[in-house]
């Protein structure tokens, strides 16, 4: 099963998005929120990202989605440092990409397919 990690500047945002994803993906898909700094403020935590990735890593690989700026840079740094080469960072709109990936992960799709769905979410029109 593919795991999903949500890296946001905001702890609340990451947890709220996780709630939404669990609803479409089901409880079996490992979805981990890594929002906020170590002390829960606005920003990014290397340690929270690392822990989240390790938790979400259940053999099918991990898709990491980020909001902006330091979330991207910190996640990239975690991935470079991490010994296990099982997580990928995807360039996708945070919420829309995460929902698309979660739907597919819940349906048993593999990491490549989830990654593609997240990326393509950029081109889905809302109106």
């Amino acid at each position: 099963m593919v795991g999903i990690v949500l890296v946001s500047h905001s702890e609340r945002l990451a947890h709220g998005l996780r709630d939404m994803l669990v609803q479409v993906a089901g409880e079996e898909v490992p979805i981990e929120a890594a929002g906020g700094t170590d002390d829960g403020g606005l920003g990014t935590s290397y340690d929270r990202i690392l822990v989240a990735i390790d938790r979400a890593d259940r053999g099918g690989g991990v898709l990491v989605l980020t909001d902006l700026g330091s979330a991207v840079l910190t996640a990239q740094t975690v991935l470079e440092d991490r010994v296990a080469n099982t997580a990928v960072l995807v360039d996708a709109p945070f919420v829309e990409g995460a929902v698309a990936a979660a739907v597919l992960a819940g349906a048993g799709a593999d990491l490549a397919e989830c990654t593609r769905a997240a990326t393509e979410a950029r081109d889905v029109r809302k109106l």
Binding site: Q23, V24, V99, V103, L104, A107
Partner: protein, 204 residues
């Protein structure tokens, strides 16, 4: 259709939605987020409450109120969609409603759903049940209201069943691509319940 028949219809839909809530939710869990039954129950429960305290002389007023309540109480995509249907239907109805006028109102409701949701037939949505139902109602309208309602109900049920092999192209289910095939669309299924309720009260 008069105000009492409109009330009876909506009450019958509410009862049916309650009975089928688990089924609708299971269908939605397969290709959506598993809340369609919960959403519609919440919406129609609110409609029942709203109509109980609502004075109205016409079917149009009852159905408009139904739509307005659904829009604000359902909480899912089916809220604004069914809400638009009932509001457009209600608003388009004249004081005296015969089968032809009701068929025109249903057409206005379908148009409103399509304007809002942009789904075409074949996209695996409620539009796939609603479109044939509206067509069947209009075609059978000369034979009277009850006959038209029966025809619409049969067409809606068939339309709902026919969504099973389709690939979703609207809403969350569309992310599933080919994987969405093999599951009946929850919204098309609830649309069939709406028309089954209409046929039941029209016959009574």
């Amino acid at each position: 259709m008069d105000a009492d028949l409109a009330r009876a219809w909506v009450a019958a839909v509410a009862t049916s939605v309650t009975e089928h809530a688990a089924e609708l939710t299971d269908l939605d869990a397969a290709i959506g987020d598993g809340d369609h039954g919960v959403n519609l129950r919440r919406g129609f429960d609110a409609v029942v409450v709203a109509l109980a305290g609502f004075e109205a002389d016409t079917a149009g007023a009852v159905l408009t109120k139904t739509g307005t309540t659904l829009v604000s109480k359902v909480g899912g995509a089916s809220g604004p969609l069914y809400g638009s249907l009932f509001r457009a239907l209600g608003k388009s109805l004249p004081g005296e409603v015969d089968a032809v006028a009701f068929g025109d109102g249903l057409r206005a409701g379908l148009d409103a759903i399509v304007r809002l949701g942009k789904a075409a037939p074949g996209d695996k949505t409620m539009v796939d049940a609603l479109t044939p139902a509206v067509d069947a109602f209009a075609a059978a309208a000369p034979a009277g209201f009850a006959a038209a309602a029966r025809a619409a109900s049969a067409a809606a049920a068939e339309g709902a069943t026919a969504t099973t092999p389709l690939q979703a192209r609207k809403g969350r289910a569309s992310y599933l691509g080919e994987r969405s095939a093999g599951h009946q669309d929850p919204g098309a299924t609830s649309t069939a319940l709406v028309f089954a309720a209409l046929a039941a009260v029209a016959d009574a």
